[in-house]
Each structure stands twice: as C-alpha cells, then as structure tokens.
Symmetry: C2
Amino acid sequence: MSERDSYEAALRRLRERLAGGKMLQIKRALHALNPAEIANLLVSLPPRERMLVWEMVSPEDDGEVLLHVPESVRTGLIRQMDTAELVKAAEELEIDDLADFLEHLPETVTQQVLKALDADDRARLERVLAYEPDTAGGLMNTDTVTVRPDVSLDVVQRYLRLRGELPPHTDALFVVDRYGAYLGALPLDKILTRAPEELVANVMERETPAIPAGESAHDVARRFESADLISAPVVDAKGVLIGRITIDDVVDVIRSEAEHNMMSMAGLTEDEDLFAPVRSAMSRRAIWLGINLLTAFAAASVVGRFESTIAQVTALAVFMPIIASMGGIGGSQTLTLMIRGLALGQVGRGNFRFLIGKEIALAAFNGLLWGLVVGGVALYFFDNGLLALVACLAMLVNQLMGACSGVLVPLLLKRIGVDPALAGSVVLTTVTDVVGFFALLGLGTLILL
Amino acid sequence: MSERDSYEAALRRLRERLAGGKMLQIKRALHALNPAEIANLLVSLPPRERMLVWEMVSPEDDGEVLLHVPESVRTGLIRQMDTAELVKAAEELEIDDLADFLEHLPETVTQQVLKALDADDRARLERVLAYEPDTAGGLMNTDTVTVRPDVSLDVVQRYLRLRGELPPHTDALFVVDRYGAYLGALPLDKILTRAPEELVANVMERETPAIPAGESAHDVARRFESADLISAPVVDAKGVLIGRITIDDVVDVIRSEAEHNMMSMAGLTEDEDLFAPVRSAMSRRAIWLGINLLTAFAAASVVGRFESTIAQVTALAVFMPIIASMGGIGGSQTLTLMIRGLALGQVGRGNFRFLIGKEIALAAFNGLLWGLVVGGVALYFFDNGLLALVACLAMLVNQLMGACSGVLVPLLLKRIGVDPALAGSVVLTTVTDVVGFFALLGLGTLILL
C-alpha cells in the first residue's frame, strides 16, 4: 500500500515542486519513473508545466512516453520536438508501437524515420501499416519467434540459447510450416517441462486459434478477455503467420472502450485532455452545447404553445422542471444499461421484448409511486385536486416515455449507424423534455381550464 | 473477422433458438463455448431462458462460468444450485477464484467446501481469505513456483521437468531465500535463453517489485498497466512471498473500474444485470428517482417563488428549460472530465487553479456565444429587448455556475468521502437548475417588471 501510495504522492509532490520552480529536484525525480509513469505525470499537468517537464525527459524515453499519453496530449508534445528528436524517439520503439507513432507524425518526419530503418525493419513496419490501426493487423507486432513442427524441444532450446533474449511478453513460440502457415502455439512452459526429445508437433497446442488480421480491435479484446490470453498469433487471409498481439495492447483497448461510453455521453472523446489549452477545447465544447441548444428550443417551443395556459395556472410552471427532469433521470438509467449492453453484445432480437417489458414495468411502478408523491405535494401547497391529478398523470406518462426511449433510442441510433453513447442522451432528454412538458401542460389545458 | 463475428452471431442464434425452444441444438452449441463465452450468453438472457441454459451447462464448467458473470447474475444462478452441485463447482476452481466464489455462498456450503479440500489447499485458501477481496491479497493466487538463488539454471530446468505443468499465466518463477522472503523474479525466457550453468542469482531480475498484500486493487491495476506486467509477486509485511497476481484478474479490475464511473453517474452499479427480474431492480431504481425528486423540488421551489413574475411575463417560462438544461449540459462536461481525472489520480492541489481557470474561460465563451443566440431568438419571437437581455445574462451566469460546480462538486464530494461518480451529477444538476431558474426569473423580476 505505502509503496503505491508513495507513487501517487510522488506525482503530487512533483506537481507542487513544479509550481515552486524547483527544477533540479524534478529532474532527479523524473529519473526514478518509468515511461508510463512519466506519461501519467505529463497528462496531469497544465500546458506550461507539461512542456517544462517534457523537455527534461531523457531522449531515449521520449518514444515510450509519447505512446503512453492520449492522442490529444501527444499532438501537443510532438509539436514541440524537432525532426531529429522525433526520428530518435521513433528508433527506440518496437514495430507495432512505431506504426502507432508514425500515424501522428508529419509526413516529412515519417519519411526520415523510414529512411533511418534498415530494410528488414522497414518491411516489417510496412506490413503493420497495411492494416487499419483498430484491427488485429494494426494492433499486432511482428516480433514473433517461430519454430517448425518436426524438430525436437531440445533443438528449440538450443536455438533459443543461440538467439538470446526473447521479445517482451513472449509466453509462447509459434509453430509454422515451411510456407509460414500457422499450425499452433508452443508455450514456453511446455518447452521447460516436457522431455527434450519430444517433437514440437506432439507438444504444441493446436487449439490456440489464430486471429485474422482484419478482425476489429473490439473483437480482439473480447477474445483475449474470454479466453484469458497473454498473446495470440495473427494470420493473413491465407493463414500465414504475420504477427502477434500481446495483452498490454489489449488492455489499452479495453480501458479506452470502457471509457468511451462515459465520455461520449457527455459529448467528449475518451482521450480528452483535462488540461488542454482553452483554445483547443473551445470548438468541440461549443458545438456540443449548440446541438443541445437546438434540442432545448424544441422543448421550449412546446412550452411556448401553452403560454396562455401558464398565464392562467402559473402553478404548472412550478411542476415543469420536476416532470421533465424525472423523465430524463429514469430514461437515462435505462439508456446507460442499454449502451453498455450493446457495447458488450448482450442485446439483440432474442431478448428485446423481455427488456422493454421489464423497463416499462419498472417505469409504471416508479411513475405511479413518485406521481402520487408529486400529486400529494401539489395538493398540499396549491390545495388543488385537479392540479394534483395533472402532475401525477404527467409523471406517469413521462416515466413510461423515458423507459421506452431508453430502450428504443439506442437501438434505432445503432441501426442508422450513429454511436448510441454519443447521441443517445441528447435524443433521450429531448424526448423526455418535450413529452414531459406536453403531458403536463396539455393535460393542464384539458383538465384545469 | 468472420470467426469472431460468428461467435457473436452464434450467441444471437442461440438466443433465437431458445425463443424457439430448440433445446437439443442448444445443448450441442453450448459444448463448443468456453466458460467465459457461456457466461456472456447467460448475462444476455432474460431470467427464464437464463435458468434453462444454466441447467444445461456441464457441471465441471459451473465454477468457471459463475466466476465470469457479474455478481448480480451470480446470486441468481447460485440460488438454483443444491449444495452438492456447489461443492463440485467449487472443487474445480483455483484457489484465488475459489476465495472469490466462497464469498457468495451460504455459510453451510462454505463449510462443506472447506471440508472437501485437503489440508494443504485449505491452508492456502485461508491465506487468501485473510485479505479483503479488493486488495492485492484478495486478488492473488497462491500457485507460485519458487526457486532458490544459489542453484544453476540447469537445476531449475530439471526441477521443472520433474514438476510437470506450470500454473496458468506463469511467465516467471520467483526466487526466495530460505525463509521464503522474496528476492527477485526469474522469467521463463531467461531460463531458456541463458547458459544452463549460470546461477539463478546472476540471472534473476531484482527490479521486479513485490506488491504488498494490503495494496488496493486499484493501485495494483495501475501498477500492472504502467509497468506492462503479466504477473507480479505478492508479499506480506515481512517481505515473505505469499502469492502472485496475474493479468487476467487485473483486466477484470480495469474494466469494472472504468465502467463504475459511467454506471454510477446514472445511479447504477457496474454489475447491474440488464435482465434482472423487475422485482430485484425495483427498489434501487425507486430510491435513485426519489433522491432526484428531492432535488427537483428544490428547483421547483425557486420557480414557486417567482410565480407572480411568471404570471406577468409568461415568456420567461419558455426560457426556463433552455437556461437550466444548457447549464446542466455544460457542467456535466466538466464534471465527467473531473471524475475521470480524479479516478486516474490526475487532479490535485498543484493543478487545481489551472483547471478552474480553464473551465471558467470556456464557460464564459460559451455562455456569451449561446447567450447571444438565445437573446436573438427572444428578440425575434417576443420582440422584447429586455427579455433578450435577461435570457442572455441568465445563460452566461448558469454556464459559469455549471463550470464552477463541475470542478468543485467532485472535489468537495471526494473530500467528504462520497463517490463523485455517484453523487456528482445529482448535485451538479440541482445547482444548475436552481441557479438557472433563479438567474432567469430573478433578473426577469428586476429588469422586466
């Protein structure tokens, strides 16, 4: 506990020292951190301090640090580096990381990095770059260690001794035939625990499936999670082994997918920079508020239609925020469940009817319960039974509407190819605001006037 | 692509077959799935179908499947099993998983499971059970393979051949002294690539840090992420090796932490069951709506104070939802960023001033921009310059308020020990509703009457 605590405390101390301008101490402290930790520190710094610290990071860590910060932060850091520094940083990286990295560099720098690589590495890099970054091919590294099925474990081991160090996160070698086609995996522990004279073909695991290079990163992540994989082979359309994916890259996919939903629901991206300079955050935030303003106008126009009702029964205005917000809250619960369910592939035609039935039942219960409470409050403060009836009914209607929208809106958005996490809550609250006001003021006009 | 697609498609087909009652086909299909995939299927089924499929799962998979479903689903499945089945399921599990599992069993079953274990396993289990589930000790497994520093790699390898299979996810053996104190890690690839006559002491990695058993699961996850670990040793307060944590357990922690924030913001828990029976979801949902109703009353009471203003200028009622919702939307963006920043340890005293300054600047810009738009709309539809001024000012005030609350509310909640993800949005929207209505109607009273 204390050790980790002291790491988070160290970050805090570092930030305080920065505020105090104690540069020498910071430089020393930076040396004790690994690239991921330095990245963490940079992400938690305002722009000016971030740049100060970034200049103090030793050049051989630059590449790794850049890979550990979110894209929005990376752009700013890269902008501060000259070409020579960028080429140097790139050279320190593994091929899969380098492929990631190159995407974010200006064309001129990319060319120079490619020139600096030897022919072998360039060929490997091009193989990775041929795939979209969010596919298995884009995630993979090409540093596989392969063996042939017809040799003995003893031979494998002699080969490994000759070869020296294995690539990081190597838990298995891959077995290929003479054409490079993937046959199976040979876990390191099998080499160590089985008799040396056994043939690879008899020891290898044929059931370890190869991942097609075109498979989406999302599916790769689910595959790793469900089979508890550390690394997995990637093959091209002909079944030829072209690389491997390791768990550390998959963990990034899992975290960013899980964060994607939360950030999208607030109109943010998952790599939003908390300490972005005001100017760079401005346009995205303004657009999000602009979209929401349009939907607010829709709700307001409903209120506008009933101005004369409100003029006669101003008490209705008091209940407007209650009915609308309760509908939004109830609907958001359903929506949030649906968004996660859709992301995890849990919702489909087979269970849709149960879902909507359940959510409607919950909404009916809650609508009645809290409708009666609101009605009671109306009766107490305004001494008006009909007003109480209107408030209660409006609550019930809007809870039901929230539940239905919570289920249907994300399904419809998905069908038309819009991300439910991004657009879901905007659409949902528009529906619950419009319906809420319409129910309250419409019923008010019918019953109270 | 196709292979994974076909897995999600298979789940869909299974659900459809269930709806059609084709039991034999389902039984056959279940055999092709691994426990995690079966768990996925169960999670995406309504209660009745879930129980049907659960009964078809072969008993030796029961334990693993139970571990892969969220707690809310697990409880329901366990309720359907008799003691003999539960004991059998428990026996199939590894010690760390068994410790997890026992937490969810009735006391009588736990006793029987403990009796069924041999003395050795019981001792190991008790070591894990001694720690809270959300600590390193609770996450760890006791299946470490240890070696002494003064033997050669050759000896290690002969020992491994004698021992046979290694525990899953073993990427390193651990080196301990004669008292069991942790000295370092011996990665499998080192055993394979270094000369057989080298001593363990010269090859082992001393820099692989041991995790104190009391460290929180959150900190363990960050440690794995930042150092890209596959497994890590766990030690007690005296530095004695007591177990190891593997990446598959950590991935669960990472996913559930990331989901926690999103689910909490809608008043849900991260293991909320999408297909929970209505009755079990009822009370939690009702309580959440009840809390929100209280805050809605606060907003409504502000409106109540200005009833006479509304009666005279009903147009103000039209702008109420606009001002309030825009404040909530703007504040929620800030709040969401803060909640993630706090969870990742990025926000503290050293950067707080920059943050609030940045968010206020953004809010001022957006408040003015959209305030002018709303003012323009007011001018166009109501032909009233003063009303336009009121709407514009109220927008500006509420945007600023949203930004300040977005930064301050989560910090204050954290200080008083309340989860910002859970309570943040309730408090924030209360503030923006109350302040929004107060600004609009208050300014309206001052300027328009």
